[in-house]
């Protein structure tokens, strides 16, 4: 991933150097302020690999004012690249790869192109084009990678689910997942079109929190499914409200932290000279969230969601305050909570046992457990995989299409395919973080980091779980796994990241009066 970070690193310094170009007077004046963190706010534009575009000259309405005043030379007019064409080409590639996978499954299983291949490809293409048009219309400066990666992951997820459907005749999941994906894209379009400015969301911080709490509390009153109370079942439909709560909580955290981060950053004690401990008074919020997570864990026996909420909160808290003390406290609280609950809850305890000894059930003569079967599937994939449709990951049994979907990818696409998937997720997260770096307001930054971290932690927790790196907790692999609530939620996350990246890369309207302030402004914004 280091090469993903390189642009990020280059990005800060590029921003710092930028003002020097054609603005010699400026640099001399604003000096330190411009070369500090403030440059990052604008860095994305020139960072676009030296594409200054055509000479718009005085025709550029945003820049005309800048030519006046005391400047020695007129500004070179820059037409910012929007990269919508790149996005469209990448979308075409994503759809083609997905259709190829779909056809490959059919060829491997039945020796013929599956009948639904055309429909599947057309549906995916229509969704991709709709999403693309929405972005082109309302978020033209958005990061061109976010949407294609999401479409590719969603398309591959559908392929994997369809592939597993062939092993479970009479219980197809792919058509339902396709409908949920369409709904997800619909919500994506709605968010991109209706949410014109992400800062609107900051106003609804506490409302979001309340809604999240309600969503999380509701399943407690519904019967547990497979040991976890996280589902609401209404007739044939079942969904996990906790999935939506993720976004709402990220919005709340971002709003709360953006508003209170200076108070939270205040420290009075230090440990070992470097480690700064927050004051007792501001420990309040973290304790509240911790209690909430433990509550989720105990009442819903949902280890994964609990871990995710807490992890995201700690990351956002650290980003807001820069206090390593928060991290230490967070880890200690998590460890204490996990230990405490694991001694009480057999559900959690058995997960840990299983993690440490995945083959214990074989030694005990009870055959391979789910985790052992998952490891067998990954192992069978080896370096290159068996090829789509040629594995036996169905042996995992229950949840093979949802929590364990990665095992099918691992077996049939091999380490190579898994590497590609992990890098796609890494790229998605990196683009989220990049939007966080580039966006100008604190709320936007925290929201971008929070949403990207949700994706990152989710991938880590479930991928690490099914591959015996960490204790297994039920969670959906973003976009890949079967699960309507999950795919819809992830599409909303992508929509928000699109909105954030658009606002980060969109040229700000400059006027003659504010022309020079623009360089300084992000610093102010950041410190506000």
């Amino acid at each position: 991933m280091s090469h993903f970070l390189l642009p990020v690193a280059a990005f800060g310094s590029g921003g710092a150097g930028r003002p020097g170009r054609g603005r010699a007077g400026d640099t001399g004046r604003s000096g330190g302020a411009a070369s500090g963190t403030g440059g990052a706010g604008r860095a994305g534009e020139p960072g676009g690999a030296g594409e200054p575009g055509g000479a718009g000259g005085p025709g550029d309405p945003g820049r005309t004012g800048g030519t006046g005043g005391s400047r020695p030379a007129p500004l070179p007019a820059v037409r910012l690249p929007r990269r919508r064409g790149v996005e469209l080409s990448l979308l075409a590639v994503a759809v083609l790869i997905s259709v190829y996978g779909y056809v490959a499954v059919g060829l491997a299983k039945h020796g013929a192109v599956p009948r639904g291949a055309g429909g599947y490809g057309a549906a995916l293409a229509v969704l991709a084009v709709l999403a693309h048009l929405a972005v082109r219309w309302r978020a033209p400066y958005a990061d061109p990678l976010l949407l294609p990666i999401a479409v590719l992951l969603n398309g591959l997820g559908l392929v994997l689910i369809y592939r597993l459907d062939l092993e479970t005749p009479g219980n197809p999941a792919a058509p339902t997942q396709m409908v949920w994906s369409a709904l997800g894209v619909g919500l994506f379009v709605a968010v991109v079109v209706l949410l014109r400015d992400h800062r609107t969301l900051a106003r609804y911080g506490y409302v979001s929190m309340a809604a999240a709490l309600v969503l999380m509390a509701v399943p407690i009153f519904f019967p547990a499914i497979n040991g976890a109370r996280i589902w609401i079942r209404l007739g044939p439909l079942s969904f996990q409200p906790g999935e939506f709560a993720k976004i709402l909580l990220a919005v709340f955290f971002a709003a709360y932290l953006a508003a209170n981060r200076h108070a939270l950053a205040y420290t009075e004690r230090t440990l070992f000279g470097r480690l700064q401990l927050p004051t007792g008074r501001v420990l309040g919020p973290i304790l509240v969230v911790w209690t909430l997570s433990i509550g989720v864990l105990v009442l819903e026996t949902d280890l994964g969601t609990s871990l995710l909420f807490f992890g995201v909160f700690v990351v956002m808290l650290y980003v807001a305050t820069g206090r390593t003390g928060w991290i230490v406290i967070g880890l200690l609280l998590a460890a204490a909570g996990a230990y405490g609950v694991s001694t009480v809850e057999t559900h959690v305890h058995s997960r840990i046992d299983n993690w440490l000894h995945p083959f214990a059930s074989i030694a005990a003569g009870q055959g391979a457990g789910q985790l052992a079967q998952s490891l067998f599937a990954f192992g069978a994939g080896g370096l290159l995989g068996t090829g789509l449709g040629r594995g036996h990951s169905i042996l995992i049994g229950f949840a093979v299409k949802s929590d364990f979907i990665l095992a099918t990818a691992g077996e049939e696409l091999g380490l190579t395919g898994l590497l590609v998937l992990f890098l796609l997720y890494a790229l998605l997260v990196e683009r989220g973080y990049r939007a966080g770096l580039a966006v100008r307001d604190s709320f936007g930054r925290l929201l971008a980091v929070g949403l990207a971290s949700i994706l990152a932690l989710q991938v880590f927790v479930i991928a690490g779980g099914v591959m015996d790196l960490i204790p297994l907790t039920g969670m959906a692999m973003p976009f890949l796994a079967q699960g309507g609530s999950s795919v819809v939620t992830n599409w909303i996350i992508i929509a928000l990241l699109i909105r954030l990246s658009d606002s980060a890369r969109r040229p700000r309207p400059l006027t003659a009066e504010t022309g020079e302030i623009a360089t300084v402004r992000p610093v102010e914004d950041d410190e506000r």
Binding site: M1, T37, A320, A368
Partner: protein, 485 residues
């Protein structure tokens, strides 16, 4: 805040690295051990996902496969199960495999990398080769003759081609149908339990996995040692051997069934099977010479495989004079498999050379192109060719006018030796009837077949059990089948 976002990004990077390292651990480092885990059903699903290659005897496939439609899709069938069970063994979805099914499993199941048309191609394409074929050395006519000859009574037959070591017949009786427990159904389990709990031990391959006291048939080895060591130079000269013969340093007197054994010539002693002459000869030759000759014939060889393991035939290396005398007539703790005794007869027929016995002629791909062809291999020289020619005379003499007249075939030189082995505490067990022989068409320089037959039928009257009476006719039938008479 920028700095802290970068720190958080580094955390994500660390998580990615952890996932990638772990993925390599699971998918590359541990891959083989996961595949070898008995609880991992992938191996069996793959194994039974395609029809297993067949074993052939001559031009006939003696195995088959049927599509069960279940998750373990193809199941083994045996068109003539009991006849070829001692050759093929079994390949059961429940109980594993034995003998050829086991020894050539890689070829038959398609996992052997040599089956690939191009090296390393399978590792890349992840294709499973179709199961290859195993061409056995078995001659169906000889196998059938041996099987019918035993007629279900307990015993075994092994026949080899002396010049090459090709195994022409390998029969163990009573036999079993390996197809009866090839699958996973309840009836398969019941059949298996019935067979494993049977007192007759039908699953035991008596031809290569059971050792018997060879009795008088072992006198071929003793005679070879006596002639090769120079103790006896003329088979027509009188020996100095008392009748009865007092076992050295004991009060036990060894007697004979036949008369005229006192100071008999070696030829006559061999013809009527004098115990006294050969016990005395063994003692005279001495332990070390007897042991080295026996080992040259193949005794005390733990590593013989055809390629399935053959039980070790034993000639004790640490005995006193009385024990050596008894061992020299195939008693005491001397024990031999029927295949070993066939090798003894073959060594005589082949001028003293012992060839490595083998059951697989060649292994081929599904399309018939050869993967491996077995070449005959000389193991050891058991005796000089002069000694071998003298022994051939003696063995022919047994069939023309001695104890083995039942094995005579018109127009064919047949050499043989009977044996009736005592066993059990105080020799209370029903004796085992042995006959070892070879056959050579008159005027021909080579013998195409050597055979060993053992019959251990407890149902027969003890007095009626004899090598010449029970075993020789079976040997004759097998030799006839090989000669095409």
């Amino acid at each position: 805040m920028i700095r802290y976002i970068r720190h958080a990004a580094v955390l994500c990077l660390l998580m990615l690295v952890a996932l990638l390292v772990n993925a390599t651990r699971v998918q590359v480092v541990n891959s083989d051990s996961y595949a070898a885990n008995p609880a991992n059903r992938r191996t069996v699903l793959l194994r039974y996902g395609q029809p297993r290659g067949n074993v052939y005897a001559g031009a006939t496939a003696v195995t088959g496969s049927k599509d069960t439609g279940g998750s373990l899709r193809y199941q083994r069938t045996y068109p003539n199960g009991p006849l070829y069970a001692p050759v093929t063994g079994y390949a059961s979805q429940t109980y594993g495999s034995t003998l050829l099914e086991n020894a050539a499993d890689g070829i038959l199941s398609g996992t052997d990398p040599r089956l690939a048309a191009f090296p390393l191609w399978n590792a890349i394409a992840r294709e499973q080769n179709p199961g290859g074929q195993v061409r056995s050395t078995i001659l169906p006519a000889a196998q059938q003759a041996a099987f019918s000859g035993l007629g279900g009574s307990k015993g075994a037959v092994a026949a080899v081609e002396p010049a090459t070591g090709r195994i022409l017949a390998l029969v163990s009786s009573p036999s079993y149908d390996p197809g009866s427990f090839a699958g996973t159904s309840r009836s398969d389990v019941a059949a298996w339990q019935r067979l494993t709990s049977s007192a007759d031990q039908p699953l035991l391959n008596r031809a290569i996995r059971q050792t018997y006291p060879p009795g008088s048939a072992f006198k071929v080895v003793t005679a070879a040692a006596g002639l090769d060591s120079g103790r006896i130079t003329d088979i027509n000269a009188a020996t100095t051997s008392p009748d009865p013969y007092p076992l050295p340093n004991t009060a036990t007197q060894l007697t004979n069934e036949a008369g005229g054994c006192a100071n008999a010539t070696l030829l006559y002693a061999f013809q009527v099977s004098c115990n006294t002459v050969f016990a005395e000869l063994g003692d005279d030759v001495g332990l070390s010479r007897m042991v080295s000759t026996a080992q040259a014939f193949g005794f005390n060889d733990k590593n013989l495989g055809i390629p399935s393991r053959v039980s070790e035939s034993v000639f004790d290396t640490d005995m006193n004079a009385a024990q050596l005398a008894l061992s020299s007539i195939g008693q005491y703790d001397t024990r031999a498999t029927p295949l070993q005794m066939a090798m003894v007869a073959a060594a005589v027929a082949d001028g003293g050379q012992v060839m490595r016995p083998y059951l697989i002629d060649r292994e081929t791909r599904a399309n018939g192109s050869a993967v491996a062809v077995t070449r005959p291999k000389a193991l050891r020289r058991a005796m000089s060719s002069h000694t071998a020619s003298l022994l051939q005379q003696m063995m022919v003499n047994v069939v023309t006018q001695g104890t083995g007249t039942n094995a005579r075939i018109p127009g064919v030189d047949v050499g043989g030796k009977t044996g009736t082995a005592q066993h059990g505490v105080g020799n209370a067990g029903t004796p085992y009837a042995w006959f070892i022989s070879w056959a050579r068409p008159k005027g021909s320089g080579t013998a195409p077949v050597a055979v060993a037959v053992v019959v251990e039928d407890a149902a027969a009257n003890r007095a009626d059990i004899s090598g010449g009476g029970n075993a020789a006719p079976i040997a004759q039938a097998v030799m006839r089948a090989v000669l095409g008479l």
